[in-house]
Amino acid sequence: MPRKFAFQDRISCDVLVAGAGGAGLRCVAEILEHKPETNILVVTKVSHPQKSHTGTAQGGLAAVDPNDPVDSPLYHMFDTWKGSDCTADQNVVKQIVASAWDEILWLERRGMFYTRNEEGKLAKRTFGGHTIRFGESSAFRAVFESDRTGKGILDTMWGEAVKQGVKFYNQHLLAELVFDKGICTGAVLFNQKEGRFLYVGAKATVLSTGGSGQVFRVTTNCRHNTGDGLGVVLQHGLPVMDPEAVQFHPTGIVGPGILASEALRGEGGILRNKDLEPYMERYAPKMKDLAPRDVVSRANEIEIREGRGILNPDHNIEHVWIDLRHLSDYVHDVKLREISTFFKKFVNIDPKTQLAPVRPSNHYHMGGIPTTLHGEVQDWALNTIPGLYAIGECACASFHGFNRLATNSILELITMGRIVGNKVLENLKEATRASEPSAEAGEHTFTKFSSYLSAKGSHNVDKLKSDMRNIMSDKVGVFRNEKDLSSALDTLQELQEAARTIHMECTSLIYNQELVQRWELDNLLSVSLVITKSALERRESRGAHTREDYPERDDAFNYHTLARISAPGAVELSKRSINMDIYESGGEYAEKFGFIARKY
């Protein structure tokens, strides 16, 4: 009988892609369109690529139409730079914005069902922070598929993958990366369904593992967004960039925290407090309800804190209202159909006639695995690691800096997916893979998994996870301060200790949900630690990172944070400079790309 904790399978491929959401699948499509004979293996933790979290994106996809008479890529670049609170990398912003429209067309030609206007052309809507002429007025820049744009992208992408005959390994975890003299030569996978460990030798490994929203109690993120890609790189002593840059969506539906898109406000929805005052006029006199997310989240949180919120009796949670009653039936029934039904389904409210309860909910991780312009993963010294790439929410190039604009995330997924696909192809010729695992490969994973199953104690994995999420939401949320962050750091270290004594009810390796959650908890705790430590050391407010004790942005912090775990529970910090290519080019309007004040 084979040993349980050993490789039961050894596979070789050209490219291993971990994560089958928009970014991973766009990368795969690009590689196969140029070189159909490439041997690609796509691994996903979910049960089918269609179950990936990309599918839940609602509002739209920002891209400047070259035929638009008033909009310009330069305005989109400016909005992204300003929105990032001057912390995005300008070379990345330029690269993504410049090729955005090509991606829209690419998806359309592969069958995406974009919403059209009466002339049969792509319809566009406006979103927070997107403007023309450097903030003069709102830009109609986002194409969309009703209020399920992410689903449109994901369905198109997995359809393409099926068309190209891509091999999927569903319900597999990427537990460990394998290196040979500093080159990534493969990975260790765990097949959940059969309880088997696999070694995969790959010339290129692409991490597209998605977000980490499960770190927080109230989140729009799916159950599987447990920061696994970040957990794995941290486990290898590699850094995560800007982990403290976490976005809170202003309008999560009270209760489960489900996303109620900006599209509600884009279509004319108005935020109101308990006195029904349209309070955004006070916080952002010009952009009002269409100000960027961090601004609106803070406004919502302040209204609640200062006693102008409303208490929901069922959830015992305070919230504000979003007023959609004045919107036409057409808007409710066609343009906002899914979101309208969410209010009916989850809070039993008819938004046509009743005010709808919303509050800030964790939404997006701007930070992630540091990469170059082309998605190549960087180490602590900022050298690229041959054979290793990262894209999508788990990566940080950085396009979003410290605050992401609405509709910029799915744009980044597909654009960076294509760019990394090309980079992988370019590097594939000289790349190497190890078809047999080295002696050390897998040892870390085998030790970890066997210790999970044999641990003695009384802790419950769900309970510890929920303790961690409460701490993170209460102390590392929309508003942060020195005292709360320090105390959160202590608690997280205690939780890491407690996790060693989690008792497993089920000790099988076959579809053991508890075992997978135990592994996820380690990832979540690592990610929580680097978020909290980085937030503590960034003694300023920047984008979505708001310190009550340091309310202003401070030029001394004009850099990206690099954080790594140097010893169990110990976080070490370093810096990466912000790319200022557009500013330094000295071209027309270059002055707009300096460290400008951020007012809306």
Binding site: V46, S47, H48, Q50, K51, S52, H53, G55, T56, I104, L105, R109, R110, G111, F113, T115, R116, N117, E118, E119, G120, K121, S146, R148, K151, G152, T156, G159, E160, V162, K163, N170, K193, C222, R223, H224, G255, P256, I258, L259, P313, D314, H315, N316, E338, F342, K345, F346, N460, D462, K463, M504, E505, C506, S508, I510, Y511, N512, Q513, E514
Partner: protein
């Protein structure tokens, strides 16, 4: 907050010993909690070994489908309060769907079910060429409206579960609908290839027109309507593309 005592009788399966049994869990939960929240409560308070599947948990991915008192539902959309009203009881039987083999407890091998959707080619096989002055296809809202609802399908397989036909011989309501959508999409030119499958012995004639698919669809898509259009060959493609 209204608390309520409910009992879940869950069908379990242990793959290590190939053993199936029913296990009862009594829990006190909030009335507006969803079934996925109830399962999580069981994991936290009573039995951490109970396996169940979910992903987005707001009705957009179709991972958490289960049978509650024999009805296929999304666990994330069924509020305890509504379940009590609908089934007129506080005692619920929860089982995995039967459209694919069970892996453990409430988790089924959804990949096997998806193979029937893949068979239906859920993509544009051969897009129509663009006119010289176009960079993308011009499509009119009124032609898209005819099939837009079908594009909302999340492949939760509730319809396949409710279907009277066997999933062994039929590509299923959702599989069929995936192909009908592309037949109605003016951009698709590979019509013959699609019709060949749709009118094959694994295709639409397996449908007994019970309309159970429409009845159970969590997205409230009239699946049977699209199957009926397929049976009649009424894809209206020519009319649509010439409109406007």
């Amino acid at each position: 907050m209204g608390l309520v005592d409910i009992t879940l009788n869950i069908r379990r399966y242990d793959p290590d010993n190939d053993r199936t049994w029913w296990q009862e869990y009594a829990v006190t939960v909030g009335e507006i909690m969803r079934f996925v929240d109830v399962l999580r409560t069981i994991n936290t308070e009573l039995d951490s070994s109970l396996a169940w599947n979910s992903s987005c948990e707001h009705g957009q991915c179709g991972t958490c489908s289960v049978l509650v008192n024999k009805s296929p539902v999304l666990g994330c959309e069924l509020l305890v309060q509504r379940a009590i009203e609908r089934f007129e009881t506080t005692h619920f039987h929860v089982e995995p769907l039967s459209i694919a083999p069970v892996i453990r407890d409430l988790v089924i091998d959804i990949e096997q079910a998806y193979s029937r959707v893949h068979e239906a080619k859920p993509y544009l096989i051969k897009p129509a060429p663009l006119r010289e002055d176009e960079s993308y296809s011009t499509l009119f809202p009124r032609s898209q409206e005819a099939f837009f609802d079908a594009t909302r399908c999340i492949n939760c397989f509730c319809c396949a579960q409710a279907c009277l036909s066997s999933h062994h011989s039929f590509i299923g309501p959702n599989g069929s609908m995936a192909s009908v959508v592309r037949l109605m999409d003016p951009r698709e030119t590979a019509r013959d290839e699609r019709l060949k499958l749709l009118y094959s012995d694994r295709g639409l004639y397996r449908c007994h027109t019970s309309r159970a698919c429409s009845h159970v669809c969590p997205k409230e898509i009239d699946v049977a309507h699209f199957l009926a259009l397929g049976k009649q060959g009424r894809f209206d493609q020519d009319k649509n593309s010439k409109k406007g």
